[in-house]
């Protein structure tokens, strides 16, 4: 065994950080961890529950991160073991519900984007006496499929809110950019905008490829020079659209649906007019908490009506507050 050399160790100890520092970026990058998460308060004393949250989220969608964070925070407070699963395909989402039933969960929170596919699985759940809450999608079929309440924002309503807001800004000819062809919720948003502003044009882009989003938006702006505004249906897409608008030298104003930290920053900077937030954190939190309430005292929130988590319009005045929470990943 060779003798441990203090000289060598000292050399390594001084050179390694120097090497690391010389390549460091002075701005940006990962911020040092803030001490202690602020999430949750005191945990309740009710017995531990097991609740499944089953969504139709496609992997890699930031929106669902926020829903999940809300659900996790409610679970931490309510002494709940959260089982989160998702599958964008209706049939497989139904299988996830059946798996949850097999796991003898105490409650199921589910998104109803493809209600027909989930019908039978949910019937099994209600037959087994498992309380079901729906969230996000499927407001109109929620009660019919056995959910005692629904947490979500009405897409059409959000669309009309955007239409109204655009009109109050003096804009009349928006382009509504749909990033997934054939998606009912997204179509409803644009339909809502169109209801208020009949000149609205709809543009379809391939959301899986940002370069195509960018170039197709540029093409559309070149083709319709008289469009005065453009609406993205999700934060990452709106940010790409904003870049395309700036690059094309177009005067079209940009508005958005949904939220993330960068988008909130752009609204605060005045580069984006506003966004309509459906407050996804509330959907996750509310759905889990509603099941806990139901288990606690048989409560059913909402009185048979959906509990609306939006639309809430975030414009320049409201953006600073929203930004703070968006950075935490909950707005």
């Amino acid at each position: 065994m060779t003798k441990f050399s203090w000289r060598k160790a000292a050399l390594v100890a001084s050179v390694v950080p120097m090497l690391a520092l010389s390549a460091c970026s002075s701005t940006g990058g990962k911020a040092p961890d803030a001490a202690g998460g602020a999430a949750g308060g005191q945990v309740v004393s009710t017995p531990k529950l097991k609740i499944a949250l089953i969504t139709h989220a496609a992997p890699g969608d930031t929106f669902w991160d926020i829903v999940r964070k809300g659900a996790e925070e409610a679970s931490a407070k309510d002494n709940v073991e959260l089982l989160y699963t998702s599958d964008p395909e209706g049939g497989r989402q139904a299988q996830l519900i059946e798996q949850a039933i097999d796991q003898k969960v105490d409650g199921i929170a589910v998104t109803l984007a493809k209600p027909d596919a989930l019908k039978d699985a949910l019937k099994k759940a209600t037959d087994a006496g498992i309380p079901v809450v729906s969230l996000n999608a499927g407001e109109s079929v929620s009660a019919q499929l056995g959910a005692f309440t629904h947490f979500g924002s009405n897409e059409k309503l959000a669309g009309t809110a955007v239409g109204d807001k655009l009109r109050s800004e003096g804009l009349s000819h928006p382009i509504c950019v749909i990033q997934e062809q054939g998606h009912v919720g997204l179509e409803a948003r644009c339909a809502g905008v169109k209801e208020k502003l009949p000149a609205t044009e709809i543009l379809y882009v391939a959301g899986t490829d940002m370069t195509q989003v960018s170039s197709t938006v540029t093409a559309k702006l070149q083709a319709t020079a008289d469009a005065d505004s453009i609406v993205g249906l999700g934060a990452p897409f709106t940010l790409t659209i904003l870049k395309a608008v700036n690059a094309a030298g177009s005067k079209a104003k940009v508005a958005s649906f949904d939220m993330n930290a960068e988008l909130a920053q752009k609204i605060a900077d005045g580069e984006i007019l506003f966004t309509v937030d459906q407050q996804p954190w509330l959907q996750g939190y509310g759905a889990i908490d509603a099941i806990w309430q139901n288990k606690r005292g048989g409560f059913e929130i909402g009185g048979g009506q959906p509990v609306l988590t939006g639309p809430s319009i975030v414009d320049k005045a409201a953006a600073a507050d929203a930004l703070k929470f968006a950075k935490e990943g909950i707005r």
């Binding site: 690391a20 390549a23 460091c24 970026s25 002075s26 701005t27 940006g28 990058g29 990962k30 496609a58 992997p59 890699g60 969608d61 930031t62 669902w64 991160d65 062809q181 543009l203 379809y204 899986t208 490829d209 940002m210 370069t211 195509q212 960018s214 170039s215 197709t216 540029t218 093409a219 559309k220 070149q222 083709a223 319709t224 990452p236 940010l239 790409t240 870049k243 690059a247 094309a248 993330n260 960068e262 990943g329």
Partner: protein, 354 residues
């Protein structure tokens, strides 16, 4: 194709009795024998068609947009075409692009380094993905369909899993404020103004890659190796072609193209969504096939893949300029794929019979 035309003009003096096997074919016939001719005809038809239905389509600005849309497919189609000529194909290309972008952004963000360090690391990762694909393929002798399908799935999972693990979210954090971002952006995602029209730099990168790939294919030893391993790997091995190295090299070339496009994605949009890229691998293959590359290998050209990408770009953007209902886009794309390949087949057979 200027490269194929013989540089010495045919001599005027009456030729002596020549061997029929080395007889000159007439130039038209020679042109028709080229792999990309079907695609070229298709591209011209499509261009004339959109130019006649939409006034905007032929304006320089709009054309620059079409070229940009084509270039983001075309850059990958260069690598994919070479690979298909070499007799393999790669299903992991779409997500590998995103893997590369995520590597660069997550690494430089997490360690707060200059973004160029992330960019170099991403290049190494992209080449490594290509190498591993090729190496497993050569070791196991499994079809490339299976091997790259597996790497497609694994990369999809890694993209999502690692991004959440490192960044705490499913999209990479914005690195636009970091050192080196400006210069990297100038290299990978800037625009060049030509005669008042902004042309994205990817268009020039695309053209350059096509030129290099064509030169390699038609003028170098390596080009002959690529055609040889795609035509018949065993025969190629028998005459001394390094089959293993050629195929692994081709996969690495695809990785290199993926790196360029990945860096463009990152520096054009600051952040990368970890679920992106799925399905794009088929667009690259479509471009190569429309451009005359055979699925069985041994035949095709880099220019063909470029024309294929251009056809995709024209159809994709042309529908917007023409203000059509985009519901039908995929249908037309499929139809075009079918027609282009049938035309290729017929033209090639005719040319070979004569």
């Amino acid at each position: 194709m200027t490269q194929t035309i013989s540089k010495t003009p045919p001599s005027k003096t009456p030729a002596p009795v020549t061997d029929e096997r080395v007889a000159k074919r007439n130039p038209l016939q020679k042109l028709l024998g080229r792999p990309e001719v079907g695609a070229l005809v298709g591209a011209i038809v499509l261009f004339v068609f959109f130019a006649s239905v939409s006034q905007t389509f032929i304006q320089p600005n709009a054309f620059a947009t079409v070229l940009y849309g084509s270039s983001t497919i075309g850059i990958m189609a260069v690598g994919v075409s070479l690979l298909m000529i070499g007799g393999e194909f790669d299903l992991s290309t779409g997500v590998a692009v995103i893997s590369s972008a995520l590597t660069a952004s997550m690494f430089s963000w997490y360690f707060a380094t200059n973004v160029w360090i992330g960019v170099i690391l991403a290049l190494m990762v992209s080449l490594a993905i290509g190498f591993i694909n090729g190496w497993i393929l050569m070791k196991t002798k499994l079809p490339s369909f299976i091997v790259t399908l597996a790497s497609f799935l694994m990369l999809t999972g890694l993209n999502l899993g690692l991004t959440r693990l490192i960044g705490g979210s499913v999209s990479s954090p914005s690195i636009s404020a970091m050192d080196g971002f400006g210069s990297a952006r100038a290299v990978f995602a800037s625009s060049v103004t030509i005669g008042g029209v902004d042309v994205k730099i990817t268009v020039f990168i695309w053209f350059a890659l096509v030129a290099v790939a064509s030169w390699v294919l038609l003028r170098t030893k390596v080009g002959n190796w690529i055609f040889a391993v795609g035509g018949d790997a065993n025969a190629a091995r028998a005459v001394g072609v390094p089959v293993k190295a050629t195929k692994i090299g081709l996969f690495m070339a695809v990785g290199f193209c993926g790196w360029i496009l990945g860096m463009h994605n990152l520096f054009a949009f600051d952040t990368v969504q970890s679920g992106e890229g799925i399905g794009n691998e088929f667009l690259y293959i479509i471009a190569a096939v429309i451009g005359g590359c055979l699925l069985t290998g041994g035949y095709g050209s880099a220019v063909g893949g470029a024309i294929g990408a251009f056809i995709f770009g024209m159809a994709n953007k042309g529908i917007v300029y023409a203000q059509w209902n985009p519901d039908w886009f995929k249908f037309f794309l499929g139809l075009m794929l079918l027609l282009a390949t049938i035309v290729n087949l017929i033209v090639k057979r005719r040319a070979e019979l004569k």
